[in-house]
Subunit: 273 residues, 4 copies
């Protein structure tokens, strides 16, 4: 684990492997460590860079601050600068996908290919109010209440039911985390930082070759959201994963690897058929 400073704030990241660089951006509840199961596959033929956004993992907590996504977009730019990355492909899921989109809009020349899992073009009023429910659950400081509010909805009902052992382990790990006021405050700030997110009128300016992935049982950013993104990004390519929910990379890890690496490492993007 390495780090660098942006003024008085620390940013933690991991930089492993060799080859075409891939920057992997976390969902809202995640950290660099959440990607551990994927590291071997991703670094097999690529340079893999992971990073904790502010209020995630080991990066600085922004206690008492209000901020928007822009602070994370700027963090990402600082990471590119720090690593002297001239160009990299970016993979983002959910919150990470939203930061990826904004980075691709603001720093067109730095982005090679873009992969967006379970990502929307704006925080609609419906999702905003769901976020408010998460915040209210956080204020109870009751880990189980937070778990039941935020976790079922990010899995498909079928996975949640069939993977009971896995879900039970998950609950044992998460309830203590969700009982930690510091973590809940981080989650509240991250959630609030998404409320103003809205690129629906500029998203067509993305120039990168982009893979968009929907999960058919994503009930936070349902398929319609990606239909919108896929329709507006000029060089977009869209696939759907049946039977998966919002945390699609945990439900279908081999498809996550397949889609990210297959798309980023494809030699040709245009075909004379």
């Amino acid at each position: 684990m390495s780090h660098f400073w942006i003024n008085d704030k620390q940013v933690f990241f991991e930089d492993e492997g060799y080859g075409t660089p891939i920057v992997l951006l976390n969902g809202i509840m995640m950290s660099t460590r959440s990607w551990a199961p994927f590291v071997e596959s991703f670094k097999a033929n690529n340079r893999l860079i992971r990073v904790d956004f502010f209020d995630q993992g080991q990066s600085t907590k922004l206690i008492g601050q209000n901020y928007t996504h822009q602070i994370q977009v700027d963090l990402l730019k600082s990471l590119f600068d720090h690593l002297k990355l001239e160009k990299a492909s970016i993979v983002g899921i959910s919150y990470g996908g939203e930061i990826a989109i904004q980075f691709a809009l603001q720093h067109k020349n730095l982005v090679d290919r873009l992969v967006l899992f379970n990502t929307a073009a704006y925080t609609n009023p419906w999702l905003k109010d769901i976020g408010r429910a998460w915040i209210a659950a956080g204020k109870t400081r009751n880990g189980e209440a937070y778990y039941n509010t935020a976790i079922p909805v990010i899995y498909s009902p079928k996975f949640y039911e069939e993977q009971q052992v896995w879900m039970k382990n998950r609950k044992q790990v998460l309830v203590p985390v969700f009982s930690n006021p510091e973590f809940l405050d981080q989650m509240e700030r991250l959630t609030l930082s998404s409320e103003s997110y809205d690129v629906k009128d500029i998203i067509h300016e993305i120039e990168a070759e982009t893979l968009i992935v929907s999960a058919e049982e994503d009930y936070l950013t349902p398929v319609d959201n990606q239909a919108y993104v896929a329709k507006r990004i000029p060089k977009s390519h869209w696939v759907k994963i049946p039977g998966a929910g919002h945390a699609s990379m945990y439900e279908k890890p081999l498809l996550f690897t397949t889609l990210c690496l297959g798309f980023i490492n494809a030699k040709d993007t245009h075909y004379h058929i």
Copy 2:
């Protein structure tokens, strides 16, 4: 509004119009009054019977009691007895659909045709935990927290966004209700009464001609649930409403009327094509 007694408990109901009788069963948060917009259409050519389940509307509140769906199935049977109904068609949505299914299984001869909107065959672990989140939100006694936890998820994101005036009115009406400890306790008991619901292994015994309606953006009892129900009920007929959420009759009221009355009043159920 009429009522009758089951021992020391009161059951309120409305009985209007003439023609083939239709019993309309409420979703969990509803009461007989929730159907007001539909009454004129339904009683135009049919006898329309609405009823408050226990812990709904004006029927008796079961303070301090644990119960299952069976108490509501029995309430419905008492209503049939009270009205001397020999046979009626039943329409249920969500909670009401679940009671309708169980009634149809237990009282085959009393049920003419069955219409199930947004209904599942059992409460899976995923939905159970979502119910637990509602209960936890109720315990905060914070009306807005309960609203944000329970309301967005029952509408489609598009309706929630486009019908902002309607949703704002809805919020003004509901937040005070959701701040009422008595109502929140009723909701908790109703929610708990659903946890043990499971007819997945006997639902194929339903003999009634049955219309099953899915809403494509139902994120509480998603389409897969109705696929299961439609596959197992022998005389089933299945339609989907695009662009609607769990509270489908509010998002698509004319389709609700069309489907209920069209199905129940159809002269022939079999066609020699």
Copy 3:
């Protein structure tokens, strides 16, 4: 069976029952007789009017003529005039739905409610070429070739497989018909009359309350076509039938009745929810 004359051409129709009038418009291969299984249900509470378009059933064959849909729209207007119908609801499937749309655009004051099954807003190049394949199959004068070209595609694969007895009967009836040069020439003219159909830029002018029905396994006018129609007609209401193909009323006859009669006979079209 009654008839009237338009100049030297005869139009055959059936007019039965009492109540709100419904005009039922045939698909391309159909005639008034094709609706026989539905007549009892439709005339139970409504006046039901069926009609053979030119080159269908007993209406005049337009041997050697090129024509467009307009000739059928005008036939329908003559029927309204002949019956002194001031207003009627119209149900159309496929070809009949296309005529219904054009009639609703040209004679707004004559149309009460509109029901469109398996209907598109224009004949796209793909469907045009499929029509050309039908015509080529017709020119072989080989009934079985025509059957295999035109029939499987109008059913869902599942229905085609599971209803083998029904399909076998259907084949025994149809192969002789499809071996009749006169019928094949009628089909060729009807098919050609659809090639120029295109209301995609004016369909939003339809004022009638409109029910649009898609069949999820319609492989001639797939669901996307009705998504377009539903999006553009202002007062549109859209449902999908899972597991049905293009000839949806034969695969799901009770749903056909339910949707048509439920929608047309609904007392209220607006609901103050």
Copy 4:
């Protein structure tokens, strides 16, 4: 182009590149040459092996013979023997996917990973009759009739409409081919060889890690077919491509490359999440 002999029959193949071997199996109308646009991408990091089945491309034509898929499965086994391939991943589309499935069932130890695009588990009566329509169109020896019968249905309506230049070129190339009696006879034999295809009761015996790809507008082997395959193959992974038809690799070439290479080259197939 290399070749080898099986008794008196020649089999032509291409063997290029280095790395994990991939055998690419043609759809019914294709030949090794049809994959030309993909060769650079596929051989960038893999050994790519293409082959003409009997009655395809330059392999021997089986004039006057009746045969089943088994002859092609055996051809593939001979290719493995000829190349001394101990294990390879296999990609097949449609007809090629069917041969791939049967090869994977008969030669479990020779198959590494399996990728199935637009593939079914059996030829249902519906598809069989569609094949009969193709054969009847072939017997007319009319290239345009064959084109209109067999080509539109393998593309999505949208692609067919929007890629008019590409489709026009395609038509100019294909109509002469479809006017060639020798080619039409090959197509007839290949089509007939599929009629008896049915692995629906043994497909669960496939042991290979398998990627299944559906195209949402595939109207020859619609999504339900792959749902069946995905449900029964134990180690299956399923994705859908929105907006693509049966010839999905031509409509979405970058997704074809992404999915094939991403899946076959993924280091891990199991993830400890």
